[in-house]
Symmetry: C2
Subunit: 358 residues, 2 copies
Amino acid sequence: MSLDMPETPFIAVDLEILQANISRAAESARQRGYALRPHVKTHKIIEIARMQHAAGVLGITVATIGEAEIFVDAGFTDVFIAYPVWLTPRKAQRLDSLLDRATIRMGIDSVESGQQMKELLGGRAPLIEFMIEVDCGHHRSGIAPEGVTELVSGLLELGLTISGAFTFPGHSYGPGALSPAAQDEARALEQAKSHLEAAGLCENLILSGGSTPSLASADVHVITEQRPGVYVFNDAQQLELGSCDWDHVALTVRATVVSIRGNRVIVDAGGKALAADRAGYATGYGRVLGNPEARIVALSEHHATIEFPKGQVPTRGDVLSVIPNHVCNTVNLADQVYVFDRGELVDTWKVAARGRNS
Amino acid sequence: MSLDMPETPFIAVDLEILQANISRAAESARQRGYALRPHVKTHKIIEIARMQHAAGVLGITVATIGEAEIFVDAGFTDVFIAYPVWLTPRKAQRLDSLLDRATIRMGIDSVESGQQMKELLGGRAPLIEFMIEVDCGHHRSGIAPEGVTELVSGLLELGLTISGAFTFPGHSYGPGALSPAAQDEARALEQAKSHLEAAGLCENLILSGGSTPSLASADVHVITEQRPGVYVFNDAQQLELGSCDWDHVALTVRATVVSIRGNRVIVDAGGKALAADRAGYATGYGRVLGNPEARIVALSEHHATIEFPKGQVPTRGDVLSVIPNHVCNTVNLADQVYVFDRGELVDTWKVAARGRNS
C-alpha cells in the first residue's frame, strides 16, 4: 500500500517514541509493583491499545459505554468504565450485552445509581464489578473517603459486587502539584481501603489511582493499579508541568504557515484541529516542536498565531509540528492519525472511538 | 420514520428558534441594505445552509477547501473561502475542480500566496475572485489597510482577479467591544476601498465584514456584505456579550446528571461534547438553559461541574440543556444533531463538513 502525505492540518504520530513511552511505563509499573490499566480515552485507537496490551497491561480503562463497546468488539476482555454512569433502559441493554463478552468494572459514587443499576439490570447487575469512586482533592465526581462505609453498606444491601475503590488526582495538573496530588491519592485510597475492609471486603481489593503527571510519584505501598492516559503521546501540558521531556512527545499536529507579519506567524491548525484547551498555567495554546522559544499566543477555529524569536521566523508554506496542550481532546477531533517511523509515513490508524461520548 | 430519543450527551437544535434567527438576520440585512453571506463553518450542515439560502442570502462563506467541497457538492454555487489558503499541488487540483462548478472567492494577504496560486493553477488562477484580507484590529491574518496598494499591484501584475476586500473584527469578542470593533471594521474597509479604487478597481467592489457580535453595529455606509456565523444558533459567549437573548439560543447539549455533592452537580457532557473554549470574559464553561444563576465551574473530558443556587439543585438522572460557550467548536465534535420542533424530536441532520479542516 502506498500512502499519500495528507494535507495539513493532520495528526502525526511518531511510532518509535510512542513505543518507547508505552514500554517505559509498563516496565516502571513492573519494577515498582503495580498493575497498569491505561485509560484509552486518550488515543481511542485499537492499534495503540494492542501495543499497550503487548507491553503487559492488566486491562484497559474507558470513560463511556460507547468506548467500551469499541474495545470489547476489538477483543479486549477486561474493561473498567471509570465513570459514574447513570443507567437508562437503552444504556442498560448495551451494558448487558457487554457482560457476556468481558469483565466489566464500573465506577459508582451513590446508592441511587446502584438502585438504578439493580432496577434496570436485575439479576445481571451483580456481574458488574463496582469500584467506589473517592474524591482525593480534585472535587469532581466521587465521595469523600469517610462516606465509603455508608455507600458500601447500601450497595451490598442491593446485592451488588464491589471490588475496590478508585480516585482521579486531577489536581495534579498544576505547577508543583504532581507530588502532593499523588500523596492525596494514596491517603484517600488508604482511607477507602480501611472502610472496605471494615465492611468485610478484604480479598483482592483493587485500589486504583492515576493521572499521567502524578504517575512517577504514586505511592506503591497503597495503590494496586494506575490508569494513566496521556503518557502514550504526552503533550504541551505534560511538558510545561515537567512530567515529560521534549523527546517523549509522540504526537504533533502538522500545520502549514499561511500568513506572516513580522515575527507573528499564522498556521492552518486552530481549535478545530488542536482543541481549545488552555489551563491557567499554560504559556499558550500549545508548543512548537523544535522551537522551545516560540509561543502560540492566540487560537481561532482555523488559525493559530505563533510568535517566533527574531531570526527564527519560518516562511510561507513551511510545515510546522505543533504540540497540542491537551492531546485527549485533540485526538477526539480527528477521524484518523498518520503514523511515521523515522520520518517516513508508514500507516494510518482510525480513531475508532472518536465521538463515543455515551 | 420513527425517531428514538438519543442517549446523552447529544446536540439538540430547536427548529423554531433556528428559523427565527435566520429570518431575523436576513430581514435586518434587507432593511439595512447589505448582503448576507453567512459563514457555514458554524453549523457545517447542508439543511441549515438551505434554510439560509431560502431566507435570501447572497452566497455562503467557508473556512477551507474541504468545507467548500461539501457545500458545492450539495448545490451551492457561490462560495467565499475566507481564509489565506496556502496552495499545495493537491489543494490546487481540488480547487480547480470546484472552479467548474461554482463561483469561488478566496481570501489573500500576500503576493507570495498569489504567486503560488499562479504557479499551481496556471491559466485557471484568474477564475478565482480574490478578496484582499485586511486587519482591522484582531491582529490575526490580513495586512494593514495601508499595505493594500502594494499587494493589489503585485496581484494584478500576476494577472489575478480582485473583487474586493474583507476583514474579520474578531476583537468584537469582548465586553463593550461590539460597537468599537464595528467602527474599526468600517474604517479598515473604507481605507482598503480607497486603495482599491486608486488601483483602478472601482466597479462592483465587495467590502465584506462580519462577526455575530458586531453585526448589529455594522456601518452600512461602508460594508456591502456581512459574514456572521454564530447567529443561527447563538451560544453562551453571545449571551454574555449581550449580543443575543436567552430565547434566541437554538442549540444546546443535552446532558444527564450523574453525580451530586451539595449544590455541585456533575453532568455527562465535558470538553469532548461541549468543546473546551473559555474566553477571559466568560463566567464559566457554558450556561444552563432555564437557570441563569447556575455556573459551570469546571470541565473535564466527560464531566462538567455545575454549581446551582441552593434549593434549585436537580436530581440524578435529570437531563439538563447546556448552552456551550462557542458553538462552532461544539458542532465540530458531533457527527449529527437532533432537531426538535416544539419539544418533539422531528429529524436528525448530519454535520456534513465535520472535521473538514483542509
